[in-house]
Symmetry: C2
Subunit: 167 residues, 2 copies
């Protein structure tokens, strides 16, 4: 756990405070660092790439998924973006308010809602996505090239397992 204490200090304090318990430090390290890293990376992107266009990480991801698959169904966008449909409704409201996306009810099935980016949304993605990808390259270069694909695969293992458990 990064923070005001070193890793050694942290493990030492944990051992001292919880000596009556069996702990798996390695297991703790996997989950706590996963969440810390994701949080830190999201904040980094929001501050350095997305702030200028007023987008949150999730708003960007939703625009990205829509850009790739449009016209996209909201149930698919939510799943591809890893957020609930309730959350997507709110994020799309924000994007519509910014004039970046538009929704319409499907002709084929009245339950479904389709989403497209607006022209303004397309223009934004043409410049924002390359900047975002450059930052992705910078960040991922911290991971040794030989480990990178494996790292992504291990992350997918975690996602797939926990999401399968939810079904």
């Amino acid at each position: 756990m990064a923070g005001s204490h070193t890793l050694a200090e942290t493990e030492s304090q944990i051992t001292s405070r919880l000596s009556h318990m069996t702990l798996d430090f390695e297991a703790m390290a996997v989950t706590s660092n996963l969440f810390r890293a994701a949080s830190a990376v999201r904040n980094h992107f929001e501050r350095n790439v997305l702030a200028e266009s007023g987008l949150s990480w999730t708003a960007f991801v939703v625009m990205w998924v829509t850009w790739i698959w449009e016209p996209a169904e909201t149930r698919d966008i939510a799943e591809e973006s890893g957020i609930s449909k309730a959350t997507l409704t709110g994020v799309l409201k924000t994007l519509e308010k910014m004039g970046l996306a538009e929704r319409s009810r499907s002709d084929a099935d009245g339950r479904l809602v389709l989403v497209n980016l607006t022209e303004k949304g397309h223009k934004l993605m043409e410049t924002l996505f390359p900047a975002f990808n450059r930052q992705e390259i910078e960040i991922s270069s911290l991971i040794p090239a030989a480990d990178r694909a494996n790292f992504a695969d291990m992350l997918r293992l975690l996602t797939n397992y926990t999401q399968d458990q939810a079904k």
Copy 2:
């Protein structure tokens, strides 16, 4: 990106839609899967371990950090938990309301706030943490044992780099 499309379908569609752009798929895979995995793991823990005691992931982490370092200063808790001080104020309000933690102003420095778990908070952690750690073991066992420590180290690289950039 896990979702309603396979990885191959996704990369194919991206290539087809954005053929005018150079893309680094590997870089994209690192950041998008990092966030997806973290989100999925958090939801998994909230549903399967934390829901019963009404705690969110972050509320648990704050309790955990406080348990280890108490009496803990709020600036340190926020840093160790990877959240802002503004967020911590809100989370501590929630924990106080639940009777699980208490705050007091430091005698030594009037700017600082100290936090302790209450007796009820300690009791909860005595049973909740082992259950949480068991789930951590289950989740991390998805990562091959030989890769686990390295995986956590790579995550720390991402966190440290992005947080250093924020300073």
